[in-house]
């Protein structure tokens, strides 16, 4: 495993600038997730590290070594793609062993067997080693694809939305497993996704990408609690952060120049109306473990999480107050 560093990387495809002056260091043993919508430059960043694309400007180093001119095969990276690409005619065992059979590696059959079994157990596919890869469910195939990257011990794992084709339940299970495996192995891992839950739950640090630029880099708690601008604030959190004009809801101490207030559940206090109500419960979304209260205040809609046993009804008048919310200026930047 190794530290991987991007310095002032830019890459354009024709007129469109996919990555713009990107500087990012993934520390040895760190799990970094790049989060952004389609077209933000996530996949291009992975491909630049893997050597599948060449930067127009800037430097990629792996373990301190400049990768300029190094072919993909010479970079010691393992790539996991969104669509699992297994060898259909081979068993699970052979698929996992394949990267180890490269003549350059000169591993003994015993050594290969030991590594394959170790990894198969890790990704929980050890009971199906002799199955043809085509006889597996989607989730099992993706576990084999991840396993095939893990049998090698590269400098860095590069993963491009590897869980996005799976159903919600399996995705939840594999998230936990992948994080667990990465921390057990101490691997360096760069993972890209548009799914905020994956980023929040797995990353040591999240990088928020937008239009080819890295907007903010920090721990999930840091990005969630201290977003640098409106864009970042809106990327994380369920329900979506409430973005409301200054002056709409009382409470808080907006600094000079505040235009927009960002209020998550933890920034809102709700009290029973008692004559000085300023808001009304519009409707309640019962999600079982918790409820989303949809509220209306002077024509604006707000949503907040609530305990499912909280005694409110649609139509109830309430008093809504702010409690240390986030403040943003007219340029969308955070004001502290």
């Amino acid at each position: 495993m190794a530290e991987v560093s991007l310095q002032n990387i830019s890459k354009s495809f024709g007129e469109s600038e996919a990555v713009r002056n990107l500087t990012l260091t993934i520390r040895d043993g760190e799990f970094v997730v790049l989060l952004g919508p389609t077209g933000a430059g996530k996949t291009t960043t992975l491909r630049l590290i893997a050597g599948l694309e060449r930067p127009d400007k800037g430097r990629v180093t792996i373990g301190g070594q400049d990768m300029a001119g190094a072919a993909p095969a010479g970079r010691d990276v393992a790539f996991v793609f969104q669509q699992y690409s297994l060898y259909p005619h081979l068993t699970v065992y052979e698929n996992l062993a394949f990267p180890l059979r490269s003549p350059a590696r000169r591993l003994s059959t015993d050594e290969i067997g030991r590594r394959v079994r170790e990894v198969a157990k890790m990704v929980r596919i050890d009971h199906k080693l002799e199955n043809r890869s085509t006889r597996l469910s989607g989730g099992e195939m993706q576990r084999v694809a991840i396993g095939r990257a893990l049998v090698r011990k590269p400098s860095i794992y590069l993963m491009d939305e590897p869980l996005s084709s799976l159903d919600a339940k399996l995705r939840g299970e594999l998230r936990l497993e992948l994080k667990r495996i990465q921390s057990e192995l101490g691997s360096t891992l760069l993972y890209v996704t548009h799914d905020q839950i994956e980023a929040m739950t797995m990353a040591d640090r999240i990088g928020i990408l937008n239009d080819g630029e890295l907007i903010q880099l920090g721990t999930p708690r840091d990005i969630y609690s201290n977003p640098v601008n409106l864009h970042v604030a809106a990327r994380l959190g369920q329900p979506h952060i409430n973005l409301i004009p200054e002056g709409l809801v009382p409470g808080g101490q907006p600094p000079k120049g505040t235009k927009t207030i960002g209020a998550r559940t933890e920034h809102l206090e709700i009290h029973a109306g008692n004559g000085n109500a300023n808001a009304e419960i519009d409707w309640i979304e019962h999600l079982g473990d918790q409820s989303h209260l949809h509220m209306r205040i002077a024509g604006h809609k707000l949503v907040t999480l609530a305990n499912p046993y909280v005694p409110v009804m649609p139509g109830d008048k309430i008093t809504l107050m702010l409690k240390d919310p986030l403040y943003f200026g007219s340029d969308g930047q955070r004001l502290v």
């Binding site: 929040m200 708690r221 998550r264 933890e266 989303h292």
Partner: protein
């Protein structure tokens, strides 16, 4: 608007029974979600209500009228499919008005109804725009407008949000429900996504292998699942099961799981010795160092306001939803306390819930 009543509905395709003996009623103005995995019979049920499939046996009543064998177009139903197709060469106004035009509605009335529909969907400002230039959300709204403008007796929707990305789906879930709150049209909505069903529906029918496993409000289904299948299908993460072997007598108020006594709602039936599963929702697990039920932290998933902590125990991996304030170390030993009043108990052989005070009393208020 209308009530939809289904009686003993059954659909057989050669050897395969897609829907077995389903009976339920969707009240006037109610929003029902038919929820289940692919192949459970939910779409077949919807297609029979629409008249796109004929039942093998059973009856379908629309507003009291037997429509079981009526043609689809005689049913006054709007069917919204997964992929919304708009006429690319027409503007928004013409797309929405088209169903009325083909019914021969007078021009002035078409204009009034299109405008009323656009107002309802908050798309008045794009009425004259071409649909080809519209963003995804507006396209969906136009497609909905085309269904609403006919003022059908009910809406049938087959995974209309299935192809959208997660973030946008959440926005549309809220919009659809708010639209329902405004027009109160009887709606049957098919989905495999439990979150969509919980968020939008007044009633949910959870289906499995052609059978309705449970029919009830989202809260009933979540808090008092009738079977292990339902308990596992609903919730994210789903209900945890702690399996153990025991017999039960009426009046039992605690069980012993691996030598740890766990209090639970009073059992209301006798059960011979067999395998049982204690069901506990993630948010009903609390950390308590003094508890005899112990485990070690396997992983923690931070979600902002709260977090999911996975704990390895003698009964397998349990997931707890707790506040995000506390941080956990992997491998740390923790004590777990379960919220006794909210536990379910299941018979593993049949998968059905064991009767208890939670299930019986709650129903009467």
């Amino acid at each position: 608007m209308a009530e939809i009543r289904i009686e003993n509905l059954r659909k057989q395709f050669a050897d395969f029974t897609a829907v077995q003996d389903s009976s339920f009623t969707v009240g006037d103005g109610e929003f029902l979600a038919l929820l289940g995995p692919s192949g459970c019979g939910k779409t077949t049920t919807l297609r029979m209500i629409a008249g796109l499939e004929l039942p093998t046996s059973g009856k379908i009543y629309l507003d009291g009228e037997d429509v079981t064998f009526n043609r689809a177009r005689e049913r006054d139903i709007a069917f919204v499919f997964q992929l919304f197709a708009l006429y690319p060469h027409m503007n928004v106004r013409k797309n929405i008005g088209f169903p009325l035009l083909s019914q021969g509605v007078p021009k002035a009335e078409i204009k009034a109804r299109v405008e009323e529909t656009a107002k309802l969907l908050q798309i008045t400002h794009i009425l004259e725009k071409s649909v080809s230039g519209l963003a995804g959300g507006d396209r969906q709204r136009v497609a909905l407008g085309r269904a609403i403008v006919r003022r059908p007796k009910c809406f049938l929707m087959d995974e209309p949000l299935g192809t959208l990305d997660a973030e946008f789906r959440e926005v549309m879930v809220h919009e659809l429900r708010e639209l329902h709150n405004r027009i109160h049209a009887t709606t049957v909505y098919v989905t495999h996504d439990q979150h969509e069903a919980m968020a939008m529906a007044d009633k949910i029918a959870v289906m499995n292998h052609g059978i309705i496993e449970q029919f009830g409000t989202p809260q009933e289904i979540y808090n008092r699942p009738a079977s292990m299948y339902v308990a596992d299908f609903i919730g994210s993460p789903p209900m945890n099961f702690l399996k153990f072997s025991a017999g039960l007598q009426k009046g039992t108020r605690s069980v012993s799981v691996d030598g740890v006594d766990i209090a639970l709602p009073e059992v209301r039936q006798d059960m011979a010795v067999g395998e049982l599963a204690l069901g506990v929702r993630p948010e009903h697990i609390r950390f308590n160092d003094n508890s005899a039920l112990r485990g070690s932290v396997y992983g923690a998933e931070y979600l902002g306001t709260n977090q999911i902590v996975a704990i390895e125990t003698g009964k397998g991996l349990l997931k707890a939803r707790v506040s995000a304030d506390r941080t956990f170390r992997i491998g740390e030993t923790v004590g777990l306390e379960l919220d006794s009043e909210k536990l379910s108990l299941f018979d593993c052989a049949s998968g059905r819930a064991v009767k208890s005070s939670l299930y019986t009393e709650a129903r009467h208020g």
